[in-house]
């Protein structure tokens, strides 16, 4: 039983590092017990591999091989390199919340003068001194997914954000994940955003590497709950180092008449997986979840979404675009479930991949499971190359080959980016795509 053997090896190496790390992991009592349970769930499954349907295209045993030990707390030199990286990726007008090597960095963050109704604390604080309800909420992600379980077991820090009822934040929040360690290591973070009723917020997440950061692993998760009549605009930009791993999970629930507009761009990391579950818990809500993968070299990026229409009268839209060059590999798995009572659901999903080289690969796996009879659902998937006749037209007008490709790639990803409702966030995504195109030369 080869599989069992691999599993045991992977499990035991990590269980040592779990034991070593345990005294650095915040929380006692129920929190510690929940960690133990999560770790047991992970240890039993081990790193997911291709024979597990959900991980068919992203075999972490082959791609990642092992989970690295917990990153040491950053030292002065690392903070200073992280500060430079933060400056380089700074966004004007936002409230910055920085995590360096998985640890909240107060000096790089802006915690002063919080708007009325906005509460921010660290995950460490929440796990050590938070109330039982909050701690239970922090452990809601399902241990059935081994990488979520691992994250629950090992989560070290993060930010816990509360927006009170009736409060619409005027300033966007920006969570910046910076890796700065020069020795390969893993960081485990989890953040939470609770948006009350009739509230509104804008959240940006960035993943970046400081100069000299080496082959690190990001294990992150974000729990979001959006109250009735509230709206969250969310953008996630993965610009991790090219030798980095990023395994991130999102768990989102929406109340009634809520609106969630989310966009993700994966242009960084050697291997990345973003897996999110979005659940409608109240009627009359709407979700737009869109994303772009921009990949080259040997990059592997997987977006796996689960849209759970559990209640009637909700709309969801998913638009994904992948641009895949060289020997890169893009994966999009989108599952939509419409539960028996979720009548008048309107769910659509469209995914398109653009292959720029013969060795590039894109896998699109849409799945619809519909148990209600009065719904509008649809999905589509296409894969193709750049149109030669369009390229020639542009070149005949003076654009070089790369310029012509860049213009067509921008147009291709444009539809996903244009769906970002917030102007500022849309500009951010356009700029990130531009950086990728410029780096291409």
């Amino acid at each position: 039983m080869n599989v069992a053997l691999v599993k045991n090896e992977t499990g035991s190496a990590l269980s040592d590092s779990f034991a070593i790390a345990r005294d650095r992991l915040p929380g006692a009592g129920k929190v510690a017990a929940a960690r133990e349970a999560a770790f047991a769930a992970y240890a039993q499954a081990g790193l997911p591999h291709r024979r597990i349907e959900d991980w068919k295209y992203t075999d972490l045993r082959a791609l990642m091989r092992e989970v690295l030990p917990l990153a040491p707390a950053p030292d002065t030199a690392e903070f200073s390199r992280a500060a430079s990286a933060a400056k380089l990726h700074a966004i004007e007008g936002v409230r910055r919340l920085v995590l360096v090597d998985g640890v909240f960095a107060p000096k790089l963050s802006e915690l002063g003068g919080l708007e009325k109704g906005l509460g921010i604390r660290t995950l460490r604080e929440a796990l050590e001194t938070g109330d039982a309800a909050l701690q239970a909420l922090l452990f809601t992600p399902d241990n059935a997914n081994p990488m979520v379980a691992l994250n629950s077991a090992m989560m070290t820090d993060g930010v816990v954000i509360d927006v009170a009822d009736g409060v619409v934040l005027s300033q966007p929040l920006h969570i910046v994940h910076i890796a700065s360690g020069t020795v390969p290591a893993a960081m485990f973070t989890r953040s939470l955003l609770r948006l009350g009723k009739d509230a509104g917020a804008t959240l940006v997440e960035s993943y970046i590497a400081a100069e000299g950061a080496k082959a690190y692993q990001v294990h992150d998760s974000l729990i979001i709950s959006i109250g009735n009549n509230s709206r969250l605009d969310h953008v996630r930009l993965n610009e991790d180092g090219r030798d980095a791993f990023n395994i991130s999970s999102g768990v989102v629930s929406l109340g009634a008449h809520a609106h969630f507009n989310t966009f993700g761009m994966m242009s960084g990391a050697g291997v990345s997986r973003y897996q999110a579950t979005i659940a409608f818990a109240g009627e009359g809500s709407r979700v737009e979840t869109n994303g772009v993968n921009l990949l080259n070299g040997k990059q592997h990026a997987d977006t796996t979404l689960f849209m759970d229409h559990a209640v009637p009268h909700c709309d969801s839209r998913e638009i994904f675009r992948a641009v895949v060059d060289d020997r890169a590999h893009s994966v999009f798995q989108g599952r939509i479930i419409v539960r028996p009572h979720a009548q008048k659901t309107d769910a659509k999903m469209m995914t398109r991949a653009l292959l720029l080289s013969d060795e590039a690969e894109a896998d699109n796996k849409p799945e619809l499971e519909i148990f209600a009879d009065d719904v509008t659902c649809g999905h589509g998937a296409t894969t193709g190359a750049l149109d030669e006749s369009l390229l020639f037209y542009l070149r005949a007008r003076g654009l070089s080959e790369k310029e012509a490709q860049a213009l067509l790639i921008q147009a291709f990803v444009g539809e996903a980016i244009e769906s970002i409702v917030n102007d500022g966030l849309r500009e951010l995504a356009i700029a990130a795509a531009q950086r990728w195109l410029e780096a291409r030369g």
């Binding site: 020639f392 542009l394 005949a396 007008r397 003076g398 080959e401 213009l407 067509l408 921008q410 147009a411």
Partner: protein, 251 residues
């Protein structure tokens, strides 16, 4: 005087089939040449090879532009040097706003020539002026390149590009195809406005009709991959009366 464009004994193949069997043509500054011929005579192939479209294999002869070997240049280099092909079927490019495309293209050409980049206000001023002279509404410039344009609008968009890029040689490939008489007149007026002493035009057409509006200095008849007869503008009228059959037999 060095000719602007000189095609010498050009032989071209597509896959295994030879389409042009030794075609020669000399175009000097200020001249307007019409190339006429039946379908399949190689007219469009000639225009594509001059512009540098991939898929054509030149097996003999040469094309010189101001004495330089055009065939050695990439399509974008040719454009920057001043070669412009107005497409018979301009492509639609969804997601690329016409205005943005025009700006990027003009600046790419200017950059290749070592000229300064036009800022957005500078460009807009130039583009709006050119558009106005061609009756192109501003609203059309905001749309995706040729997306949802009528046949006439697509051709006017080609002429707008000609006006903005100010090329030395314009190849107009079947500009009249798909246009009604009013649209044809607007397009032809646009082309005529761009005629100048330094600029040459090669008008490729199946029908004499277009040449009533764009009056050529020279007319060449192509058949089966060669120029079989050359003459003045009266040759076009002669063809209108007698048809192409005589030349097909001759070739």
């Amino acid at each position: 005087m060095t000719a602007l464009l000189e095609v010498k004994d050009l032989k071209v193949r597509v896959e295994e089939r030879e389409i042009l069997h030794g075609l020669s043509l000399t175009v000097n500054p200020g001249e307007v040449h019409a190339i006429m011929g039946p379908n399949g005579s190689g007219k469009s192939t000639l225009s594509h090879v001059i512009a540098g479209k991939p898929g054509y294999e030149v097996t003999g002869g040469e094309i010189l532009f101001r004495g330089e070997d055009l065939l050695e240049m990439s399509p974008d280099e040719r454009a920057a040097k001043g070669v412009f092909l107005a497409f018979q079927y301009p492509v639609e490019i969804p997601g690329v706003a016409t205005m943005n495309f025009l700006h990027v293209a003009l600046n790419a050409q200017r950059k290749a020539r070592g000229e300064s980049q036009l800022t957005t206000p500078e460009f807009l001023k130039k583009a709006y002026a050119a558009a106005a002279s061609l009756n192109i509404p501003r609203d059309m410039l905001k749309r995706g390149v040729n997306v949802g344009f009528s046949g006439g609008e697509k051709k006017r968009n080609e002429i707008l590009q000609m006006a903005l890029f100010e090329p030395a040689v314009c190849i107009l490939d079947e500009m009249d195809s798909g246009l009604d008489i009013d649209a044809l007149r607007v397009a032809a007026d646009g082309v005529n406005a761009l005629r100048s002493q330094g600029r040459a035009m090669v008008v490729i057409t199946h029908y004499q009709r277009l040449l009533n509006y764009i009056v050529p200095d020279f007319v060449h008849v192509m058949s089966k991959g060669r120029v079989v007869k050359s003459g003045g503008k009266e040759l076009a009228l002669e063809l209108e009366a007698s048809g192409y059959a005589q030349f097909e037999d001759a070739a």
